[in-house]
Amino acid sequence: MSRRMKRVVVSSGLQEAEIRPPALLSEFKRLSLQDAIAFFGDPAQLVETPCPACGADAREAVFKKHEFLYNQCRDCESVYVSPRPTDAALERYYAHSRASRFRVDHYSRDTAKARRYHLLASHANWMGQIYDETGNRDARVYADLNSYSPQIFDEMHALGVFDTLLSVDPLLPPERESSAPVRTIARAELRDAGAVSAFEKIEHQFSPFDYVRRLRGALAPGGLFFFTTRTISGFDLQVLWDKTPYIFVPEHLNLLSIEGISRLLERCNMELVELSTPGQLDVQFVRHALDQDPSIRLPRFAGYLVTRRDALAHADFQEFLQKHRLSSHVRVAAKKAGE
């Protein structure tokens, strides 16, 4: 890891229900699981992959969820689905599935205000700060990949840091949702970008390595790549493990470990600038999972903390998780390193 790398702790009083209303999440998950069977139900169409983070082959099958096998890399401890749907099958899924449509038509729009306050404004400030600190001042193009929260462009426009804002293959076209001057382009047209963001995308890529390498090619020298994802190193996933209701195929093919993320970026010749886990919801996730399924058995300490201790203890514990990179929500800034 880079010697000067930063970590970030965030407190905003975020409640899970604000950005993941239970009814919407439940319907989205139901559709995703149905679509997964429809699109990827034929085992013959699935392919084996090595660890998507470090590339190692050695692994151990750790659990099965909805008929898909999750493996753990013996090297970096990332958890991933293998065999998994091909790149082409995933592309078809995101273009045509009911779950994808639901995400755009309901999930994104209905949570837009809370997402903008809790997530997008802070994402924009974060990217602006890192760009000020280490960005290429001659590369003033910002692009967001497969966006379903076009309000990110309003936040970026307000920052006034970038000259050009690009929405690349958006899931929700920006024209009606954003008042910022945004141009929509196809992935193949993206080049010489000063900053590219991909929020919650790495986890469902067929090959995160190919994804980051291709993206690196679209960055200007010294260009920055920002992403968020779920990490298996985080508290809620570690204690809930196979019982977590929050991971499912194909949304979560790759649950990279913190160490795996570092290795992935290193393999892609990207220099880490920040690797933080500013998640605010791990304890809430565990609590809600227990509420939904009382048969879940947690490690004794985790169960006691979550069920018996008060909100202040939970907030302090969540801050500890953030500080030590132990929350499952991870955000990463990486810089295109020289050849």
Partner: protein, 347 residues
């Protein structure tokens, strides 16, 4: 000038060792020799570095630049002798014991305009301070309203016997020794201050210099900075709060070898008056820094100034002079203190 800067160090105590370590790591620097009346510990740590028998011998040797890491009493003499010998100089803070000391140094610098002179105000290079400066300069949180800085250490066993608390050696107490860093940081963010109110005291320690200084400073724009410099802060503390028209930045802790000032963090928030969200409890981000690059960056900056003949922008003699002027304005702002036996050494 070749691609390598040959360096000698005068004063081989704690700071001399820290500088030697950074110089050894830098590819464009060669640590040639050092001088100290008691060089044993240094010699054990850096056995390949030649030891000189006197400062004069070191200045006669083949060095391009000299680091002056001596107690304050010897600082101006060493800096001026090195400049007059045609050497670039890096000088630890404070730049002497009195205003006259730094004025003499500036006069020597003006006699040798081709030489670089830099002072060790390393706090400007800390990750937290750099981050805060970037945010302020970006303008995204508006204009600075006020600053509040606390820099305190606990003293401890043997504290009263340290040379820093010997008026003849140090010139002043905690304000001159450590508080000067915070004053330099106030200037880093606001520039010059034109008005000073202060109270200075020796509250606890049996020492002939101050152990606490409180000051209010106002700049030409009316912005106020409040300082507390202390050596009775039983739990070490560094805190610099910068409140702006649209938010705040709070630098807490400063990374040190012992981590006694805690983690170095920067808390950043935008003021939050939106309807529907709690007021006075804004969304806050705390940035943690895993390493202290300040020594490395400071030495690298000095070498870059020499090799590329660029001006010293951070730690210049003007900044050192102005920080010293603030220190002495704070002393002189308290008549009662100035009439006490703890008043600083004057020129």
């Amino acid at each position: 000038m070749t691609d390598t800067v040959r360096i000698g160090i005068i004063g081989l105590g704690k700071m001399g060792m820290i500088r030697a370590q950074e110089v050894e790591k830098h590819p464009a620097a060669q640590l040639v020799c050092g001088y100290d009346p008691a060089p044993q510990r240094f010699a054990e740590r850096f056995p390949k570095v030649a030891l000189c028998g006197s400062m004069e011998e070191l200045l006669r040797s083949e060095v391009d630049a000299v680091f002056v890491c001596t107690p304050n009493r010897f600082t101006p003499g060493a800096v001026i002798a090195a400049l007059d010998a045609g050497r670039h100089v890096f000088c630890e803070k404070p730049p002497g014991r009195t205003l006259r000391d730094i004025e003499d140094i500036v006069a020597a610098e003006q006699r040798h305009p081709g030489l670089k002179l830099k002072f060790g105000f390393n706090h400007r290079y800390h990750g937290g301070i750099q981050e805060a400066k970037r945010i302020v300069d970006s303008g995204r949180l508006g204009r600075i309203l006020w600053l509040r800085g606390i820099y305190g250490k606990s003293g401890g066993a043997g504290f009263e016997q340290e040379w820093r608390n010997n008026k003849e050696m140090g010139g002043g107490g905690i304000l001159l020794d450590q508080g000067i860093h915070m004053l330099d940081l106030f200037r880093f963010f606001c520039g010059d201050f034109v008005e000073v109110k202060s109270m200075v005291t020796t509250a606890h320690w049996n020492i002939p210099v101050e152990d606490n200084a409180f000051a209010l400073l106002r700049d030409a724009q009316g912005r106020i900075a409040m300082l507390h410099s202390s050596s009775t802060q039983w739990k070490h503390r560094f805190s610099l709060e910068i409140y702006l028209s649209e938010g705040y930045i709070s630098v807490n802790g400063i990374l040190s070898s012992t981590r006694s000032y805690g983690d170095e963090t920067v808390s950043v928030a935008r003021k939050q008056f939106n309807e529907g969200f709690a007021q006075g409890k804004p969304r806050e981000e705390i940035i943690y820094f895993d390493a202290d690059p300040s020594w490395e960056l400071e030495v690298a900056g000095f070498l870059e100034n020499i090799l590329n003949d660029t001006p010293v922008e951070s730690g210049s003699s003007e900044q050192a002079l102005k920080a010293m002027q603030l220190v002495f304005a704070i002393y002189h702002g308290d008549d009662r203190f100035m009439q006490s036996s703890a008043a600083p050494l004057e020129a």
